[in-house]
Subunit: 326 residues, 2 copies
C-alpha cells in the first residue's frame, strides 16, 4: 500500500495525496475529505524511508552514551528522548562502552542512517583518536555534547557546573568543621576533570589536608580503597566522590569499620541518583541536573535544526542536596 494506491482509490493524483498527508499546499476541502477517507480506510502509514529520500532526513537523532545501565546516562538519555519525541523525532540509542573502536563503529552507523544530529552524552570523548571522526561528521551533522566541551563549528555543548559543585561541597563541609578530605573519582572524562579541579580549588583555598584517588567504577573498588586507607591508619573526616555508587562503597566500608557517618566522617556523592536515597544513611549528594541537561540539549539542537543561531556552550548550575551523611 503506497501513495499510488491511495491516489487511485481516491481518484486523485499522488501529488494531492502527498499534499493532504503533509498538509502542504492548498487542497479543496472536498478533495481532502475524499483522500482522508481512503487514508483512514486502509490505515495508511507513509514510508519514512521514501520520504527521507527526498527530505534527506528520517527525523531521527542518535544518542551516544557509554552504558545506559548507568543511572546517569539513563536519566539524561530519557530526558533527551522525551523532549525529542515531542518534536517528532525518534532516538537511536547507542551503548558504546569504553572502547574507541566501538564508538567509531556506532558513529559510522549513525551517519549511514542519516541522523539529523548526534548527541554525545558523558563526554568520554577526550580520546584524541575520536576527534577526527567527530569533526568530520560535524561538517554535515550538528553535534551536541552533553557534559563535555568542544570548540568547533557545528558542535555545541551543554555542561553542568561540576567544578563549582564540588568546590561548594567542600566549602560546606569546611564550614561544618571538617579538616581532612578524601576525594575518590572513577573516570577521567571532561566532567571528571572538572570535579577534580573543583575539589582542588577548594582544598587549596581552605588549606585543608586532602588526598585524591582514582578508583574503578562501582561499589567494591571504593570499599577496598577505603579499607586500605583505614587500615593504614590514615586520618580523614570527609570523603567526596564523583559518583553516588562510589560513595555507597565508602559508606559500606565505614560502617564495617564502625566509623560513624556523619559524626566521625562526612560523605558526599554525586548525581543525586536513586541510589542516594536507597543507602543507609541516605546520601548527601549533588544534583547534577540530568533531566535539565537533556532538555537543554534538545532545545539547543532544535534551534540549530531550524537554522537559528544557538548558544555554542551552555552551563547549568548544580544543586547541593544534603541528606544524612553530612
Amino acid at each position: 500500500m503506497n501513495i499510488y494506491d491511495i491516489a487511485r482509490e481516491a481518484n486523485v493524483s499522488i501529488a494531492t495525496v502527498s499534499r493532504v498527508l503533509n498538509d502542504s499546499g492548498r487542497v479543496r476541502d472536498i478533495t481532502r475529505q475524499k483522500v482522508e477517507a481512503v487514508l483512514k480506510k486502509y490505515n495508511y502509514v507513509p514510508s519514512a524511508i521514501a520520504r527521507g529520500m527526498m527530505t534527506n532526513s528520517l527525523k531521527t537523532i542518535g544518542i551516544v552514551a557509554i552504558d545506559i545501565r548507568n543511572l546517569y546516562y539513563a536519566n539524561v538519555a530519557h530526558s533527551i528522548e522525551q523532549s525529542l519525541s515531542v518534536l517528532g523525532f525518534n532516538t537511536i540509542l547507542c551503548n558504546t562502552g569504553y572502547d574507541t573502536e566501538q564508538k567509531i563503529k556506532y558513529l559510522r552507523m549513525l551517519v549511514e542512517k542519516k541522523v539529523d544530529s548526534i548527541i554525545l552524552v558523558g563526554s568520554p570523548f577526550k580520546d584524541p583518536s575520536l576527534d577526527k571522526p567527530i569533526e568530520q561528521i560535524s561538517k554535515n551533522t550538528p553535534i551536541i555534547i552533553v557534559n563535555g566541551h568542544y570548540e568547533y563549528p557545528n558542535i555545541y555543548s551543554v555542561q553542568c557546573n561540576d567544578r563549582s559543585a564540588l568546590k561548594r561541597s567542600v566549602d560546606y563541609l569546611v564550614s561544618k568543621g571538617r579538616k581532612s578530605f578524601l576525594y575518590l573519582y572513577d573516570a577521567e572524562t571532561f566532567s571528571g576533570r572538572q570535579k577534580l579541579l573543583g575539589f582542588m580549588d577548594a582544598v587549596s583555598k581552605h588549606q585543608v589536608k586532602s588526598e585524591v584517588f582514582l578508583v574503578k567504577p562501582g561499589l567494591e573498588p571504593a570499599y577496598e580503597k577505603i579499607q586500605e586507607l583505614v587500615s593504614s591508619g590514615l586520618d580523614f573526616d570527609a570523603v567526596l566522590t564523583s559518583e553516588d555508587f562510589t560513595a555507597i562503597g565508602v559508606l559500606k566500608c565505614l560502617a564495617a569499620n564502625n566509623i560513624r557517618v556523619p559524626e566521625d566522617v562526612s560523605v558526599m556523592g554525586f548525581n543525586n541518583s536513586v541510589l542516594s536515597v536507597c543507602c543507609t544513611p541516605a546520601l548527601s549528594t549533588v544534583d547534577s541536573k540530568m533531566e535539565e541537561m537533556g532538555r537543554v540539549a534538545v532545545k539547543v539542537l532544535h534551534k540549530v535544526l531550524k537554522g537559528e543561531k544557538a548558544e555554542t556552550s551552555t552551563v547549568i548550575d548544580a544543586d547541593l542536596i544534603f541528606r544524612e551523611t553530612t
Copy 2:
C-alpha cells in the same frame, strides 16, 4: 557524494561500486581495489535511506519500554541493544510511560520508520485497546514481547519464570520458619500477575498467613504502607515485593520502627538490581535474568528475520539471591 560520484572517479559503473560496497557478486580484485581506494579517499558512507528504498529495511529495531530510568528496563534494553548491534542493527528507543495514547503514537512512528521488528519490554500491554494496533502491526512486522505473553501469529514472547521464583522464595522463607507473609506489588502487568500467582501458590500450599497489597512504585509508598501496617499492630515476619525499590522502602520503614532484619522480619526484593547491593542490610532478591532475556529475545528475533522457525514462547528460570535480609 553518492555512488555515481564514486563510480565516475573509479571509472566503473555504479553496479560495481554497489558490489564492492555490499561484497555481493564477483568483482575482479584489481577493480575492487580501485573502487576501494576511491571509497577511502572520500571516506564514503552509503545512504541507508536509499538502500532502505530497495531492501525495505533500515536494519533498525524499535524497543518500546515504559521508562528507561527504571533499572529493569535499562538492563533489558541494554542487553537487547548490544546483541542487536552485533548483528548490525540499530535500536530506536521509546519511553512510553503508562499512557496508552503515547504507546500508540510510538508504535505508529516505528511503523513509519519501517523497523524490522518491534520489541515490547515489560508487557505493560495488558491494555486491551492496544491489542488491535499490535495485531495489526504484526501482520507485517514481527513483534517480540519480553516478559509478557501473547498468542498471535508473528508475535513471540520471552518470559522469566516469575511465578516459580516467587513461589520458591516463599518456600525458602517457610523453611526458615517464617509464618506470616506480606506481599507488596506495584504493577498489574503480565509479569506482575505471575509473581502474585506464585505468591498465592506458595502461601496456600504452606497454609501460612498472608496479606497482599498493591502500592505505587517507589520507596515511599512502600514505606508508608508498612508504617501503616506496623502502626495497626499487624503481625508479620516476612515481606516480599515485586521490585527491589519497593523492598528498600520496606527496609527503611522496618529500621525506623526498630524491627530487626532478618532477625524479626525477612525481606526479599525482585530483579537483583544495583539497588539491592546499595541498601543496608544488602537485599536478598530474585535475579530475573534481565540480560539473558534481552539476549534470548534477539536470538529469537534473529531466527524470525532469517525466515527460520522460532519458538513462539520461551521461558527462562530466575535465580534466588540470598544476601543479608533473609
